[in-house]
């Protein structure tokens, strides 16, 4: 953890469950970040957390950036308005602000450690198969699916792929979307189950000489994903680091703020993915 500078963080109309999650992560980084209340003078706030499931979240984020906030953390992105999104992207560009997106799978420390090898194998992939089981948790099915697809797309994007997804099937409880025109198809599917049934994310990258088996739990936990690379000579599993992925994400943001560099998953990536979600799931 860098101790070069402590950044202030505030929450702007974030959902209580989002605020709770991020406050918990920030409490584990007391040297790097300090939470200040919303009535704090805006220009003294370095980073603001907005709920990506809230209506008009990108406008809220834009107002903060225009007021001098240097970074926006988008908690659980699920929807957007394309016209407002453009204004937000423009504000980001004008002010040089940074956006961090709560993509808990792609931001996992263990996953990040293995990403270079995984990306090499993806170049010879035969199929990329991402499957999620999501607990409903008394939430709107459409928002849950949207949020899940964003997580999956962030994973796929982290592999260096830029898929052109289309909707194959969608019902109240499940979806299948695919980029099946490419030589190695990319398949994203998910099923909603009742609360208590247990959720998980799986990513299988199958190449001729290496197969990756990646298993995440529901995402909101410090339990690390299990990454295994299977080859002709056996299986190698990644070392386990029990760091909460949201903590990993805040650490990445700290480095980005210190060094004025973009996050691995950018605001442009997010809006591209939200547009895909909007196109394939909400038509």
């Amino acid at each position: 953890v860098s101790a070069n500078r402590q950044y202030t963080v505030s929450f702007d109309r974030a959902f209580p469950e989002d605020e709770s999650r991020h406050r918990q992560a920030l409490a584990s980084l007391p040297v790097s970040f300090r939470v200040v209340e919303q009535d704090h003078v805006r220009h003294q706030i370095d980073a603001v957390v907005v709920s990506g499931g809230a209506v008009g979240w990108s406008e809220t984020a834009r107002l903060n950036v225009d007021a001098g906030v240097r970074a926006v953390m988008v908690a659980r992105p699920e929807g957007y308005d394309s016209s407002v999104a453009k204004a937000f992207l423009s504000a980001l560009s004008t002010h040089g602000a940074i956006v961090a997106v709560e993509c808990v799978l792609a931001s996992s420390l263990v996953y990040g450690d293995e990403l270079a090898t995984l990306r090499r194998d993806v170049q010879t992939a035969l199929v990329v198969d991402c499957f999620s089981v999501v607990e409903r948790m008394a939430r709107d099915s459409e928002a849950l699916m949207a949020g899940t697809v964003v997580q999956q797309l962030a994973l796929v994007r982290s592999l260096g792929l830029d898929p052109a997804m289309r909707l194959v099937e969608r019902s109240e409880t499940n979806y299948v979307i695919a980029d099946d025109r490419r030589e190695a198809p990319v398949l994203l599917s998910g099923v909603l189950v009742d609360e208590g049934e247990g959720g998980y994310f799986r990513l299988d990258v199958v190449a001729r000489s290496a197969r990756w088996r990646v298993r995440f739990d529901s995402g909101n936990s410090a339990r690390p994903p299990a990454l295994t690379r299977l080859t002709e000579s056996g299986a190698v599993s990644a070392r386990q680091h029990f760091e909460h992925p949201i903590r990993s994400l805040w650490r990445e943001l700290h480095i980005a703020l210190d060094q004025n560099q973009p996050m691995a998953y950018t605001a442009a990536d997010l809006f591209l993915d939200l547009e895909i979600v909007d196109h394939v799931l909400r038509r």
Partner: protein, 344 residues
């Protein structure tokens, strides 16, 4: 003491040598291998010698052998239907035919007519549908009258040699080795898809049909390279996703899952060629979970079932299930034509 059933093999390749002969050796009180037929005389002779049976290269010699009660058909797929019909007409008591039963519905109908006329017990070697752990988990699912909303079948397999060589000392002759690939017209995407559905997906179709009995609409279909498929289809309220790919140079992954809003069934199968016992099947519903695993596998169960039917201790099975399996597979292929997209 019940008389042992004499088994005549038609085709003595890896499936016969690595799977069926070891299984029957473990059931020696009930079966004895009396005849081994293969087009390659050297292979037939060597395999027959290994199990104390008579060798032949002549199919009719198997049919005319009174010591053969049961014909095990392990030949190439396109020969299955004619050979089952011939075995029925020869008055054999039983036939175990490797999957698929036929490659067309007309051929399957011919088999059905021959079987009904002769009264021969014909079972198809859909080993996973005989898997005792899978069956136990499906029974638990059925008890709760669950309706699947999503079914996933995934088969990622390495080269069969990886397992065959651990299951037997494979007997083959230089003449039986396939010639090297020669340039020819490459198969179309559709032909690749069709071939992989009938050769690989067919293994899991009996499982899928427990949860999705018909194919209403194929929503996506792709051939995968070097050999495989990716398809999604719908049956009523159930969406089915089937993926299959081989061969790769890694450990196998053979998985089957079904989801209902409050229940989940998950089955992991071991490699087919080795005696690794049953699948591991898990069924969970509303917070409680059950798990099954048995020492015997689906191949042992299918031979036990055949013996039980011939002994009159279990009810005879009909050919309706394997014919519906075939109809299901062919329906996927037929409907896939409309949705296959060109690969960029």
């Amino acid at each position: 003491m019940v008389k042992r059933l004499g088994v005549g093999f038609v085709g003595a390749g890896p499936v016969t040598q690595a799977i069926h002969l070891p299984v029957l050796a473990s059931m020696a009180k009930r079966f004895s291998v009396t005849c081994v037929m293969d087009m390659d005389g050297d292979v037939a002779t060597a395999v027959a010698k290994s199990c104390g049976a008579r060798a032949t290269t002549d199919f009719s010699s198997v049919l005319n052998d009174p010591a053969v009660d049961v014909v095990a058909i392990c030949s190439p797929n396109h020969l299955h239907a004619d050979q089952v019909v011939a075995a029925c007409r020869a008055g054999k008591r039983g036939v175990l035919c490797e999957k698929p039963l036929a490659t067309s519905l007309d051929d399957a109908q011919r088999v059905l007519e021959a079987q009904r006329a002769s009264g021969t017990t014909v079972i198809v070697g859909t080993m996973h549908s005989y898997d005792p752990a899978f069956r136990a988990s499906v029974a638990a699912w059925n008890d709760l009258r669950c309706v699947a909303t999503f079914v996933r079948s995934v088969i990622y397999l390495p080269d069969n040699d990886r397992f065959v060589n651990l299951a037997t000392e494979l007997i083959s002759s230089p003449t039986s080795i396939s010639p090297p690939d020669v340039p020819s017209t490459p198969p179309t995407e559709f032909a690749r898809f069709q071939g992989s559905i009938l050769a690989l997906a067919i293994h899991n179709i009996p499982l899928v049909r427990h949860f999705a009995p018909t194919v209403d609409d194929v929503l996506s279909a792709r051939a995968l390279r070097p050999f495989g498929y990716a398809t999604t289809f719908r049956c009523g309220v159930t969406t089915v996703q089937m993926l299959g790919l081989l061969p790769g140079a890694w450990d196998p992954n053979w998985r089957f899952e079904a989801f209902a809003p409050t229940s989940r069934l998950r089955v992991r199968f071991p490699p087919s060629y080795v005696m690794a016992g049953s699948s591991t099947a898990e069924f969970s519903s509303r917070g409680s979970a059950s798990r099954w695993r048995f020492a015997i596998n689906g191949y042992q169960e299918e031979w036990s079932h055949l013996a039980g039917v011939l002994d009159g201790v279990v009810p005879a099975t009909t050919l309706s299930a394997p014919i519906e399996d075939l109809r299901f597979a062919l329906r996927i292929v037929e409907l896939a034509k409309k949705v296959m997209v060109p690969i960029q």
